[in-house]
Amino acid sequence: MANTLLLDVKQVSRSFGGLKAVSDVSIQIYQGELIGLIGPNGAGKTTLFNLLTGVYEPSEGQILFKQESIGGLKPYKITQKGAARTFQNIRLFGNLSVLDNVKIAYHQRSKHSIFASIFRLPSHFKGEQEMTEQGMELLKIFRLDHKKDELAKNLPYGEQRRLEIARALATRPKLLLLDEPAAGMNPQETQELMQLIRWIRKEFDLTILLIEHDMSLVMNVCDRIYVLDQGQLIAQGTPAEIQLNPRVIEAYLGQEV
């Protein structure tokens, strides 16, 4: 299964002013893998995500997704091509209901035109109903269905995180990028999240790239791990290899884990 190359990042760099936040990074991710991305604060992990999802344009290098170059495409185009993400700082549509949050993510697949919606043609009703049904299904999976009419901003933190993941899944991605999904969760909640990630990966046939500082999560779920430091890739390998890598220990893990 790990044969088709899904994401191929080729020597990508990005600088801000004088600062090289990501420098000459190459990453290959195969279909179905679950990859971890770790590194000290400010190493450039989120910046790399931003490059992958079109928030920033690479200064140099190429990003191939499903053999297509996506470097510099607009975020919505990249999402439509099948890469979705969550954000390090939660970015839900706070004043909208939980269900609407998910329905918005289905928007790009909707087929009814503005014209149909304004004149309430049958295709509008059909389209909207489909969205609602699919949205509800997804919410059920994430155990959020009983809160579908709640405003997103009123959810507790953990549920907001789950909703963000659900919303990203609603875009039907091939590749899911998760930026610190366990931040602010206690160990117990982190474990539940770990189960959830494993489960959706199977259920939705996903490839996942994950940034996380919680080593219990990273080491347990990831197939392979990339380590960034000061914008550069300093190590890659299986969790076991990474844990013993002296450079990683020095820069990131510290003595005791």
Partner: protein, 317 residues
């Protein structure tokens, strides 16, 4: 969906009832000209408010150039009826479409801008349009076009008011409208969800401008005369006040805002010296006591039983 439809039918029935009552009062001569014109003015303001709300309230794009679009509709429709003898409905459409095109032209480049910068750019566009009218002798320059036939009547404004409300409402309550709202809520996330944000901003601008143009045409054919000064930035602010006072992102709010503000302004007619003082005091007070506007983001619902619940929270199942 059943509930939506029921709501819709009740809404239509109530509107028709209002239409008929007013129409009867007009034909029986019970309403004086002044009150007829007040009702028409309210309706025109409703069209303006509801359409600007689509841009400002729902899509979250801070625009204060609505008077500019309105003026395009006003001038073009007036030229159409005056110089080309076009029938009124057609002339209105020409005005609306011209305003839509302007909305497109303005929308595309300026939507790179955010927040206050967008506001000042739209204000600038509005002023540029006004200055163009001011310097065009064909449309009368500073004194404007006069002798425009009085073709606007209650029936026409009512029809256009209903069309505006329905179109904006149907748009907003669809996946397309949600796309716009998601831009307001968090543009970066919206884009990450695959929403072509620029496209939807431009669409919101175009729909909003279309109805502003229609309102301009109706107003031109109501008050016989238009001049560039009627469409200066203060007019844009007036419309913005309607929208914010009613509640950003609430169509019912814009309707109420238009009614309340127009009525206050009209009722104060008898006190010319203190009219604007009271008007501005009321404005300040209303904002202090209802900072989210009279309606917040809530909408009218004809299910009166549920009102209480909706007041607190969006929990209706």
């Amino acid at each position: 969906m059943m509930r939506k439809n029921k709501n819709f039918i009740i809404g239509v029935l109530i509107s028709l009832f209002i239409y008929l009552v007013i129409q009867v009062l007009i034909s029986m001569g019970i309403l004086s000209d002044f009150w007829i014109s007040t009702i028409i003015l309210i309706s025109i303001n409703i069209i303006l408010g509801v359409s600007l709300n689509l841009i400002n309230g729902f899509t979250g794009q801070f625009s204060i150039g609505h008077a500019g679009f309105m003026s395009i509709g006003a001038y073009l429709s007036a030229i159409m009826t005056l110089d080309f003898n076009l029938p009124f409905p057609l002339a209105l459409l020409v005005g609306g479409i011209a305003a839509t095109m302007a909305g497109f032209l303005i929308g595309v480049p300026s939507l790179r801008l955010k927040g206050d910068y967008l506001a000042i750019a739209t204000l600038g566009f509005g002023e540029i349009i006004r200055i163009i009218w001011l310097n065009t002798e064909y449309v009368g320059g500073a004194s404007g076009l006069s002798g425009i036939p009085a073709l606007t009547n209650w029936t026409w404004v009512f029809i256009w008011m209903m069309i505006t409300i329905l179109v904006v409402n149907n748009f907003v309550n669809s996946t397309h409208g949600r796309a716009c709202i998601s831009i307001r809520e968090n543009e970066i996330a919206a884009e990450a969800m695959g929403i072509h944000t620029t496209k939807y901003k431009v669409i919101a601008f175009m729909i909003g401008s279309f109805f502003a143009g229609i309102a301009g045409g109706l107003s031109a054919h109501m008050f016989y005369i238009i001049n560039p000064n009627s469409f200066n930035f203060m007019k844009s602010f007036e419309i913005l006040v309607i929208v914010v006072l009613g509640g950003l992102g609430s169509t019912s709010g814009s309707i109420i805002g238009a009614i309340v503000l127009t009525m206050i302004f009209t009722l104060l007619q008898d006190y010319p010296e203190i009219r604007m003082i009271i008007y501005s005091l009321l404005l300040i007070l209303m904002m202090i006591f209802r900072p989210k506007g009279l309606m917040g983001t809530r909408e009218f619902s004809f299910q009166l039983k549920k009102r209480g619940e909706q007041y607190g929270k969006h929990t209706s199942a």
